[in-house]
Point group: C2
Chain length 166, copies 2
DNA sequence: ATTTATGCAAATCCTTTGCAAATCT
DNA sequence: AGATTTGCAAAGGATTTGCATAAAT
């Protein structure tokens, strides 16, 4: 998965933090400690995460560099605006993932263990564009999520599937 | 849109209510006034709706046949379980639409006016299946939403787009 | 007669907001 | 200094839950 990223990665000149600082300046916003902490933490790995996880991870990684929940929510919104993160809704909470420097992709979502598996498909984007064209619809993006059970969860015990959700 | 439905509609023997009654009985649940009211109302038209809209619509349609919010939520879950309704998340709330007797489809979602436009694509389902196969993933369904601006909203004023959401 | 369902009020969960104190530029 | 941010506590919106009462089998 990460190999794929390296290969397909879009050309990027600035580090996420640099890009974010640029964004902030262009808006007359300030480069604060907490915004720096958040960006660094978020781009240290490329897993999916939600606001809550981010708050506790940052806090436990270094008790000194703590950031409040409201600030995390505020900064995540800015990162989405800046094009650094992509946001998607999973059940009741929002999940974020890298957007800047990462190729477009969609997900397989295991309803058992809540795992997200990424996959890329040019066809999906093409279909979206074709359909949009037919409806004179101006596309800004799409979200495709394939629901089901991952191989790990398919074995063990009976797949008490959750029929609701998403 | 509705013409397409007529043509592509899957073979159906039972009315939604009959099917739901069957489902309820098979689970030792009861056929109550409010469950009947809800099913009838939901299948009177085939628009998308959320719990809140359903509560007020039912109430204003006939003040006598009122149903409480908790009951609506509980019944909607049962209808999803029964395969009569499909649930999807839009921003912060859940939106429902017919599933029983209606062909699989996906949506174009206007971020300006929140309108949902349905479209059908066999290719999407095929892609989902192909990808799932590659990952030994057992598919139970998918959700594809194309985000953007509908033609009606593209004209009037500048498209102050919402960059967050979904 | 039993058992399940309803409605109310209260509780949850996730996210946002008001505001005084702290931090940037 | 002057403006923006932060963190706290509280507010909000959507959905769920406990429980006594009402309705279905």
């Amino acid at each position: 998965m990460s190999e794929t990223f390296e290969l397909e990665a879009v050309e990027v000149n600035l580090s996420p933090l640099e890009r974010f600082e640029e964004f902030l300046q262009s808006r007359g916003k300030r480069v604060t400690q907490q915004r720096r902490i958040i960006v660094e933490h978020v781009f240290a790995g490329h897993e999916h995460f939600d606001a809550d996880a981010l708050v506790s991870q940052v806090q436990q990684q270094d008790p000194h560099r703590r950031v409040s929940r409201p600030t995390v929510y505020r900064t995540l919104s800015e990162l989405v605006e800046a094009g650094l993160l992509r946001k998607m809704t999973l059940g009741s909470r929002s999940v974020y993932e890298h957007d800047y420097g990462y190729p477009q992709h969609d997900h397989l979502y295991c309803q058992q263990c809540e795992k997200l598996i990424e996959f890329h498909s040019d066809e999906v984007r093409e279909i979206c564009e074709a359909v949009a064209r037919q409806h004179q619809f101006r596309v800004s993006g799409h979200r495709l999520i394939v629901l089901g059970t991952c191989p790990d969860c398919a074995r063990p015990r009976r797949p008490k599937r959750r029929l609701d959700l998403v």
